[in-house]
């Protein structure tokens, strides 16, 4: 992309974007006469412009929200320690998420010593 080329694309885009329908088409035909590549570039940008509403903002939002994500290991959470989960539910947390998180972060988690509840005595 040379500076001149970019300037040319920009000039045509900025003029075309404020026009609509037939006026836009007429302008594009005139401005891009004998330059099919220029026409294609500008058309692609105009198309993108129509779809771009809020797009950049959403990526930044995505980034800001990802600051609040937590890494967990891929465990089968359905087979998780549901007894401990009930304990967590009483504390008002998202039980399924935390049980998976705890399972991943606590190596000895499956052992009897770490269970909050013990199985009923036989």
């Amino acid at each position: 992309m040379t500076p001149d080329r970019w300037k040319r694309i920009e000039d045509v885009f900025q003029s075309a974007v404020d026009l609509a329908g037939e006026k836009r088409e007429a302008y594009l035909a005139k401005a891009c006469a004998n330059d099919a590549e220029l026409l294609a570039e500008v058309r692609a940008l105009l198309q993108s412009d129509e779809e771009a509403q809020g797009f950049v903002e959403r990526q930044v939002e995505d980034g800001v929200m990802s600051l609040e994500t937590v890494e967990i290991a891929p465990v089968d959470c359905r087979a998780g320690p549901y007894k401990l989960t009930r304990e967590l539910v009483r504390r008002g947390m998202d039980s399924r998420v935390l049980s998976c998180a705890l399972q991943a972060r606590t190596p000895g988690f499956g052992s009897p010593a770490t269970h909050q509840h013990r199985p009923p005595a036989r």
Partner: protein, 197 residues
């Protein structure tokens, strides 16, 4: 946002750091980074809370709040604030992108899934990849149009208004509008044609 204002001692510290940084101290800027990071996390948490309540909030408004809380308005003159906004927007972008890149590569390495503690349904493994693609596209844009890249950085990572952006870059408000519109179109096009990760 829960918004209890940063306490007086912290504000004084941050103001001092800003002054030192304004005088060219890289050490001061490094010291500011974790503070900015904490502010961002608080804002992200409040944003998630509001999202659950189905209120719409612009993320750029949230980012701007971080600067207000970092006492940017205590800087002596507009030139200082403008300078601060410029570098802080860069730093904000860096923080967000570095975080996303780090977690993305961990995900690829260990197959770990990411879970938000605030989400009722667990997995959001795609979260964060958009901002990395945006960063790459912005770098590409900057190669042949530095000013458009700066406009995007100030507006979206710095949360600056159009007027503030115009003053910071020394261009007209109308120019900011045109720059932003074409930059957004170009970025969207560039990111739409990237292969899926």
């Amino acid at each position: 946002m829960q918004g209890d204002p940063a306490d007086a001692g912290v504000r004084k510290q941050v103001t001092q750091l800003l002054v030192e940084w304004g005088a060219g101290s890289k050490v001061a800027l490094d010291a500011l980074t974790p503070i900015i990071y904490d502010e961002l996390r608080k804002l992200a948490r409040s944003y998630l809370a509001r999202e659950r309540a189905a209120l719409t909030l612009q993320p750029t408004a949230l980012v701007n709040e971080a600067y207000i809380r970092l006492v940017a308005q205590d800087l002596p003159d507009w030139e200082s604030r403008s300078h601060f906004f410029g570098v802080a927007a860069q730093r904000m972008r860096q923080i967000l992108v570095d975080h996303a890149r780090k977690h993305r590569s961990q995900k690829r390495g260990g197959g770990a899934a990411k879970v938000s503690l605030n989400e009722a349904v667990s997995f959001a493994p795609e979260r964060g990849s958009g901002i990395v693609a945006l960063d790459d596209a912005l770098k590409d844009l900057a190669k042949f149009d530095e000013r458009k890249s700066r406009v995007i950085e100030l507006r979206f990572f710095g949360g600056l208004s159009i007027e503030e952006t115009a003053q910071t870059l020394g261009i007209s408000i109308a120019t900011v509008g045109r720059e932003q519109r074409m930059a957004e179109a170009w970025l969207h096009k560039a990111m739409s044609s990237q292969p899926e990760e």
